[in-house]
Symmetry: C2
Subunit: 355 residues, 2 copies
């Protein structure tokens, strides 16, 4: 190992990279991590000196607040390699902004921009070899913050750890995606934490999703918890609906995550002259749209899955199969977005940031 | 340290207890832990051999599911010492039952009764000296389960750790408790995880509770998220309202935790001939009750706080001060309950269990 300090980050490198042992053609999503991680602790009211060091387990007290009260937030981003071998981030400012919104809602300290951005850049710079060239190959980036203070009293921690870990990835989902529309379970409450990327939001979905899986559906589309009539989002994706040639998606709210993919697709669709409406979409509109043939597509949108076409949905025990579209909005928009991400098309929006 | 195996639990004792260094007259709630902890891991589809060992930090991978998806549940119980020096649990079957309900809702494995009960008994047996005699002195017991499997993919873990840690405690709250009735934020969704003692439910309350604290209120009374008209529960307490001589409390539901204290107080009140109604209580009833003088008391009920009289509440920026009751239901019921817990009154319900 060699220790050096760059831009206020202490860097301890591994003696030997494990990259040679990784089969980049057979990567399970989120299961393999790079050689190093970024760590920065908050205590006594301030962020301390950040470190980049070998990826490894760390010690926590059994009474750590993250274990008992779920005070934890995260982000999900990706890095892409272009033909020239350069590595790019996609809209990292949006992730920082959302991370800090999540932090406020979860009574956690905000991360200063310089710690977040320099951590991201220097860590990925060190791990360039882990980002492989070729459409679909990415380095999945997981910034997260956990409450590490100890004590079993239900009150916010005063000590936190912010980390960034990196995982080389291929596509998130494989195979056809059928969804179940939620009729009983729900993801978020009004006045709750649905708009935060808070850890507890995800485990809350595991059981209802497992029930859906058992019925042959890969995902649940959540509806509002009061009436179950409004379509909201999926597990880790916002959801778009195409009725005739209009693209519809729920407006962001305190129940719905403000997805970076969602807002980017909306911008791209508008640029392409596609009519986009951000408004509550009712389950009844889907059923009507199936009956009169106006419902053409449903797709999920998120960093992990990029764009995920949905082949059909179930509601009130009836399965509705969507038409097969030759030139779907889903694939058109996915193509436009990934070309920008991989620097294969001009980035007129200024979304990409070079490492 | 000495290693021995009792009833299928491996026991490793500390060389030297730290009890002599503990100031039992000045204990912050949940901050001091006993010498040992109980640990049992679940992997490859089954629970492995449990251990009692020195209380100490443990290693987790940065990608552990508990950090990212909040897959974690807990319980809160207490042990009490009677005049003869015997140590007693209060309705531990109820906590096991609730823990396992939480486990199902959070897609976690249920704990077998023998692991839970023998862990509890043997650990507390070893730590008897930590349970001090005298009303108010207790040993707070924190059983909890966390997802320790690694991987940043939003799906349930396959590896879990169940632990029990113990913390000597005095009373939970001190001073007068004023509450704010929630008008915007909420704790649980219909079809959500409110009825589970899931970690994420607690951190979700930190920020709104902090806002209430800043206004001079110690707790928030949560209302239903759809209309904010129905009174539900407080941070870690169920809530009772006395209107004239009737005791009211919200029925348990998928939004409300089924409190052991709540159900015990209901049983005690009924035995005392107090009329109890488990039904939705409206905020408007409180306001009416303040106007016509029929609202006599509000109190919280939970293991940590036992019974917590509330002196006043705020709603729509108006503060309502409750009357001072000479012989309040809160104090009568608290007295009855604690006398059973400390074996100072006959336990006709069969609630207490000797260690
Ligand atoms: C609940 C939820 N909705 C939507 C998304 C999509 O957001 P983004 O496009 O920023 O990845 C995510 C994140 O992956 C999510 O967790
Ligand atoms: C949300 C919530 N409500 C109510 C209670 C009271 O339950 P119990 O009486 O079992 O401690 C608790 C637990 O302490 C709780 O966390």
């Amino acid at each position: 190992m060699s220790v050096k300090t760059t831009n206020e980050i202490d860097i301890v490198k591994v003696a030997q990279s494990k990259i040679a042992s990784v089969d980049f053609d057979n990567l399970a999503f989120g299961a393999t991590f790079t050689d190093h991680m970024f760590v920065c602790d908050f205590r006594e009211g301030k962020w301390h000196k950040p470190q980049i060091k070998p990826y490894e387990p760390f010690l926590l007290d059994p009474s750590a607040k993250v274990f008992h009260y779920g005070q934890a937030i995260f982000e999900g981003m990706k890095a892409y390699k272009d033909e020239a071998g350069d590595v790019w981030l996609f809209r990292p400012d949006q992730n920082l902004d959302r991370l800090n919104k999540s932090a406020v809602r979860m009574a956690m300290p905000e991360i200063p921009e310089d710690i977040f951005m320099s951590g991201l850049h220097q860590l990925i710079d060190l791990e360039r070899e882990w980002v492989k060239f070729g459409l679909g190959n990415t380095l999945y980036i997981r910034p997260f913050m956990i409450a590490i203070g100890s004590g079993v009293v239900a009150a916010p921690s005063t000590q936190f750890r912010f980390m960034i870990i990196l995982s080389p990835a291929k596509a998130y989902y494989s195979g056809e995606v059928k969804v179940l529309i939620a009729e009983h379970y729900s993801r978020a409450a009004n006045g709750g934490i649905g708009a935060a990327k808070a850890a507890g939001n995800y485990s809350a979905q595991f059981y209802p999703t497992k029930l859906a899986n058992e019925k042959g559906f890969q995902q649940v589309i959540w509806t509002d918890d009061a009436t179950h009539t409004k379509l909201e989002e999926a597990g880790t994706m916002n959801v778009f609906f195409r009725i005739n040639d209009t693209l519809l998606t729920a407006p962001t709210s305190e129940r719905i995550l403000d997805g970076v993919t969602r807002k980017s697709l909306i911008a791209l669709a508008k640029r392409e002259g596609i009519k986009v409406e951000e408004r509550s979409v009712l389950v009844s509109e889907l059923i009507e749209g199936m009956k009169d043939g106006s419902l053409k597509e449903i797709f999920g949108a998120g960093t992990a899955a990029v764009v995920n076409p949905i082949v059909g949905f179930s509601y009130q025990d009836t399965y509705y199969e969507l038409p097969k579209m030759a030139d779907s909005f889903a694939l058109q928009l996915k193509d436009k977005l990934t070309k920008i991400q991989y620097k294969l098309a001009e980035d007129t929006f200024g979304w990409t940031v070079k490492i």
